[in-house]
């Protein structure tokens, strides 16, 4: 089954990082070479992929319309589910990208008091949204390791994130949420027979990898504490392109870093590219204004047609008999 394969790969990656850093000289390799390579692969890969998508033409304007079209002025137009203008499309996209509008529609067929109803099923939406938002905030929080002095908005996010004021250091909610939401998504993938049936190793792997990254981060922050000062010195060295071999940072940090590198390398070749793809989806990012503004197909070509003249030639006598006007008598 896909999940065992994916799980073994993530474990293997962890073991490699853990074992690797004990080998003399390999700290530089795991701490500097690999991260640089990973970032390079990530950037080049993503750019190439998006360019490939961007270069492919959009021959037809095919939005999926999910609300009332704009027609007569007195009929209420559903602007953001069936956009007519670019501005409306942008709002539709914002709702889609930041609030997962389509997933919010998710329904589940149920029976209440012997009556069939279609109940709403928001758990997937909620888990998906929490997963992505937590991931995003965690990323932003990590900017503190790459910028000196730390910008105030990052401190603010940190403060908000740790508002529950539990433990030392303060518990940051998003990290926990990331693991929890990711865990739910994984549970759903295994537990729901429909989803399990369609799942590929490529579905389990990134989920396990991200959970692994989050867990290693949490362990580092709360349990096996690492020397934050030398971590920051090391990360600043990386971004300023003056890498120094990190010293005195625990193995757990290398595991964290190596798993992140693996994610970066994997990203451009995988379904994780849905991050960029959602912006390019022609059923969402186009206005439903074909009848108002002509859409041009860049590769439109002439086709063989059956002309009126040929039609009349075939049926002229029958047409005349039926009293239908003809071009040639």
């Amino acid at each position: 089954m896909g999940i065992f394969f994916s799980f073994s790969v993530v474990v293997a990656l962890t073991v490699i990082a853990f074992a690797g850093v004990w080998i003399p000289g390999m700290q530089y390799f795991f701490g500097v070479v690999i991260p640089y390579l990973a970032v390079l692969v990530f950037l080049v890969g993503v750019v190439l992929k998006v360019a490939k998508w961007g270069r492919s033409p959009v021959p037809f304007r095919i939005p999926t319309t999910c609300g009332q079209q704009q027609s007569l002025p007195w009929i209420k137009h559903s602007k953001y589910d069936n956009p007519q203008t670019t501005g409306q499309v942008i709002i539709r996209m914002v709702l889609e990208v930041f609030l997962f509008r389509s997933l919010f529609r998710n329904l589940r067929t149920e029976m209440n008091d012997g009556r069939v109803t279609y109940g709403s099923d928001k758990i997937l939406w909620l888990a998906g949204l929490l997963f992505h938002i937590s991931f995003f905030i965690v990323l932003i929080r990590h900017l503190r390791f790459f910028i000196e002095p730390v910008p105030s908005f990052i401190n603010m996010i940190d403060a908000l994130d740790g508002f529950v004021q539990v433990g030392v250091p303060h518990l940051l909610l998003t990290g926990v949420l990331l693991v929890a939401a990711g865990g739910y998504l994984l549970f759903r993938r295994i537990n729901n027979s429909q989803v399990r049936h369609i799942s590929l190793p490529a579905d389990y792997f990134p989920l396990l990898l991200i959970i692994g990254i989050a867990l290693s981060g949490i362990i580092m922050r709360y349990f096996v504490k690492v020397d934050i000062v030398s971590v920051k010195a090391f990360t600043l060295g990386l971004v300023s392109l003056r890498p120094r071999t990190p010293a005195g940072i625990g193995a757990i940090f290398y595991i964290h870093l190596f798993l992140i590198s693996a994610l970066l390398v994997y990203f451009p070749f995988s379904k994780l590219m849905h991050m960029g793809g959602v912006f390019l989806s022609p059923t969402r990012n186009l206005a439903n204004n074909n009848r108002e503004v002509r859409h041009v197909n860049p590769w439109n070509y002439d086709v063989k047609v059956h002309s009126y003249a040929a039609y009349e030639d075939e049926f002229r006598e029958k047409m005349k008999e039926a009293g239908i006007p003809v071009e040639k008598e």
Binding site: E110, M111, N192, S193, H197
Partner: protein, 172 residues
């Protein structure tokens, strides 16, 4: 009768087991989809079936008349009639209710009085099977009727195209 009140008490168990047996009649690939963890109602197919068998069970226990029972039978069979089952497979789910009840009342039916009551109930289930087969046949006949109607319409259109139909109409 005592057996009915006994069964009414055991309704959740009986229904659950009966439902599981019915889902087993689907091909392995499909059945694992129709079943879902804690709810029998994720899919309209299973809803129709569950709703139907619940109605049938209630009808049996409360000794409803046949017409009322047939409505519930219809719910289940109408779905199964279009789902790749042979005729016997499509209606055999009725008989599996007997099996479930016998297991469920394993101890109680050692009592001869209760056993007699069970036989009475089983006779009712048997006659239910008869109705089930009739409903199944009606559904299948309906499908063939629809097919035949479509063929007839097309023949009519073909006649119309050649102008034949128009002549008939003007004579009228």
């Amino acid at each position: 009768m005592k057996i009915y009140s006994l069964l009414a008490e055991k309704k959740p168990d009986v229904l659950k087991k009966w439902f599981a047996l019915i889902l087993e009649t689907y091909p392995k690939e499909t059945s694992s989809f129709l079943k879902s963890q804690n709810s029998q109602t994720r899919n309209p197919v299973t809803q129709a079936i569950y709703e139907g068998i619940e109605g049938i069970f209630n009808g049996l226990v409360h000794e409803d008349d046949e017409d009322k029972l047939n409505i519930y039978l219809d719910n289940v069979i109408r779905v199964r009639a279009i789902q790749d089952f042979s005729p016997s497979e499509a209606v055999s789910f009725i008989f599996s209710l007997k099996e479930v009840i016998r297991k469920e009342l394993d101890k109680e039916i050692c009592d001869p009085k209760m056993f007699k009551e069970l036989l009475g109930l089983e006779t009712r289930i048997d006659s239910l099977a008869n109705s089930a087969f009739e409903i199944y046949m009606k559904c299948r006949e309906k499908i063939y009727e629809i097919k035949a109607n479509e063929m007839r319409n097309w023949t009519y259109r073909a006649l119309h195209k050649t102008g034949f139909y128009k002549e008939v109409r003007t004579e009228e």
